[in-house]
């Protein structure tokens, strides 16, 4: 039977959460398409393949010294070897940093259409229809592939994390990995020794809507202090240098789960939401009633934050 194949992602011997979500995605999609779920794991030995086998019934393992560390060349060659030696209908990859780096290369290697950054799949007439975010999350679109096989990447949280407990079969697939053109020197922590906002009970975060560095400092910091919490920021604020990178909340920054998260002038792009959606209570203040942040907030105020915050300062 044809396979819906997850490409496992791992770092320091640990599977990513996105991979565990994809194991569930593969089961759902395979069942709707009359296929079987499977995974491919690449590494210097079978350790990761054995780990994935706890979550999915069939695992193909490609082992090579050149696969010890992730590289796009290594992963694309290993994926191609598995897809071409097995009956693979669809390939699922996380829309993570590594996933973004190699997914399109896998699609090119097997000549398949790719739909990236998906959050849902419907199967219509036996073919998958992918739903994905566009326009900064304000509009969704549906896409299909015109090729026999497909590659799809999924945003984090699209599926629940699969539970461990199975004992899948691991089989070896041979591949010759050659001509790896990027050389990994090291992985470094860019925020070592900096402030840690992840333990704060209250976080007041500001986004692009704060307009400039002075307004960010004048509005966000006093409100955070008044609430006895920390102040944070969305990516554009850090990119513009209004505050330090260690205060960035989101996929590339900190993941926080405070009791209260105030998002001021933050539109709610998926990369930001990934870092704060676990907060107990989320308050959003934004002028734009269509801002995606209102879809995940507990309470929302559709107004100019510069008019609302002074009243909050007065009332608290």
């Amino acid at each position: 039977m044809a396979k819906i194949l997850v490409i496992a992602e791992h770092r320091d011997g640990k599977l990513s959460e996105g991979t565990l979500e994809l194991c569930n995605a593969a089961k759902a999609i395979a069942s709707a398409m009359g296929c079987e779920p499977a995974a491919a794991a690449f590494g210097k030995d079978d350790a990761i393949a054995n780990e994935v086998a706890k979550y999915i019934p069939t695992v193909y393992s490609v082992t090579d010294a050149a696969l010890e560390k992730y590289t796009s060349d290594g992963y694309a060659q290993a994926a191609k070897a598995v897809i071409e030696s097995q009956d693979v209908k669809g390939v699922l990859i996380a829309q993570s940093y590594d996933g973004v780096d190699f997914a399109a290369k896998v699609a090119m290697a097997i000549g398949a259409g790719i739909v990236s950054n998906c959050n849902k799949v419907d199967v219509e007439g036996g073919a998958p229809v992918f739903t994905r975010n566009t326009y900064n999350g304000k509009i969704q679109e549906q896409k299909k592939v015109k090729t026999d096989k497909f590659v799809a990447t999924f945003e984090k949280g699209a599926y629940e994390v699969a539970a461990a407990g199975g004992a899948g079969a691991v089989s070896a697939v041979s591949a010759s990995i050659s001509n790896v053109r990027t050389k990994v020197k090291e992985v470094i922590a860019t925020m070592a020794g900096a402030v840690d906002i992840s333990q704060a009970r209250v976080i007041v975060s500001g986004g692009r809507g704060l307009k400039d560095a002075d307004k960010y400092k004048d509005i966000i910091i006093p409100l955070a202090q008044k609430l006895g919490g920390e102040y944070g920021a969305s990516r554009p604020v850090v990119d513009s240098g209004w505050t330090e990178a260690a205060r960035q909340v989101g996929q590339s920054g900190k993941v926080v789960t405070p009791d209260l998260y105030l998002a001021l002038g933050i539109s709610g792009a998926i990369q930001h939401v990934a870092g704060m959606k676990g907060s107990k209570c989320i308050v959003a203040v934004n002028k734009d009633p269509e801002a995606p942040i209102f879809n995940i907030a507990t309470y929302g105020i559709v107004a100019d934050l510069f008019e609302v915050v002074p009243h909050l300062m007065e009332g608290l």
């Binding site: 796009s72 060349d73 829309q95 940093y97 973004v100 780096d101 399109a104 699609a107 090119m108 398949a112 259409g113 990236s116 950054n117 229809v129 994905r132 975010n133 566009t134 326009y135 900064n136 999350g137 304000k138 509009i139 969704q140 549906q142 896409k143 299909k144 592939v145 015109k146 053109r181 990027t182 050389k183 990994v184 020197k185 090291e186 470094i188 922590a189 860019t190 209250v202 609430l227 240098g241 260690a246 590339s252 009791d259 209260l260 539109s267 308050v283 269509e290 209102f294 879809n295 995940i296 309470y299 929302g300 105020i301 107004a303 008019e307 609302v308 009243h311 909050l312 007065e314 608290l316």
Partner: protein, 256 residues
């Protein structure tokens, strides 16, 4: 160094979007601008040119309106450009765009480095740059947050989750997708804007480039997302809303 920057013109994401027939956005209601990520790629290219000499070439696939933002990049300091202005390319998917960019870049010849933004703000696909690298037969790195070029040797930092960076080496020619925050994109100066008007902008169609227009994916429809959990919107003027919010946080959510 001969550096190509692939640039896309996109709608301002703050726009109040309207969808026509579930198939496209109403362009009469939106303002267009350079894709934010591409601005950082243009700046990165200009900094490399200032350090190493050479030229910066903008390659963009887009309709007539896109010329305004290609010239914006010229005003920042880019030297000349190619606009792939072809309805058949506009109607194509990322694969079609990548193929046309590839042929345009091969036509320029002797390109040392191709820079793209991490993704386009409108389609949020983040795949065109990687496809382009593959078609050009070049190595690539995505989400670049630091870039050092020493001749043909490059050391780049690739952004990872949670504040980690992977430091890696690769050789030019290569394709790099540039992440926001890597630099501070400059604003065009008045002399820059004046010069930009006279810079060379070649218009090409897929047939001129010898590139295909056959997509591998198919658009079905677009719609506004329906969230199951919409926020409770607190009504009233700012003073009333602020007062109500504080009460709710104290008595209902019990978080302050």
């Amino acid at each position: 160094m001969k550096i190509v920057v692939c640039l896309k013109q996109v709608p301002d994401m703050e726009s109040n979007f309207k969808i026509i027939d579930g198939s496209k956005i109403d362009e009469s209601q939106v303002a267009f601008k350079i894709n934010d990520f591409d601005n950082y790629a243009v700046e990165a290219a200009l900094q490399l040119k200032e350090k190493n000499g050479g030229e910066v070439i903008i390659v963009s696939a887009g309709p007539d309106r896109a010329a305004k933002d290609i010239r914006q990049a010229f005003a920042m300091g880019a030297d000349w450009g190619i606009q792939i202005n072809d309805p058949a390319v506009q109607a194509g998917d990322n694969f079609v765009i990548a193929q046309n960019l590839q042929k345009a870049i091969e036509g320029i010849g002797g390109v040392d480095l191709v820079l793209t933004g991490v993704q386009a703000e409108d389609d949020q696909a983040a795949i065109t740059g990687v496809m382009l690298a593959d078609l050009l037969g070049l190595p690539h790195c995505t989400n670049v947050v630091k870039l050092e070029v020493n001749g043909a040797n490059m050391v780049v930092n690739r952004e990872l989750e949670g504040g980690l960076n992977e430091v890696l080496e690769l050789s030019a020619p290569a394709v790099l997708s540039i992440q926001s925050g890597i630099n501070e994109p400059r604003y065009p100066t008045l002399p820059g804007i004046m010069k930009a008007k006279k810079k060379q902008l070649d218009a090409k169609k897929a047939a001129d480039l010898g590139a295909g227009t056959e997509s591998k994916t198919e658009f079905v429809k677009m719609f506004f997302p329906v969230s199951e959990t919409k926020a409770e919107i607190i009504q009233g003027d700012p003073a009333t809303a602020a007062k109500t919010l504080i009460e709710k946080l104290k008595n209902e959510a019990k978080v302050i």
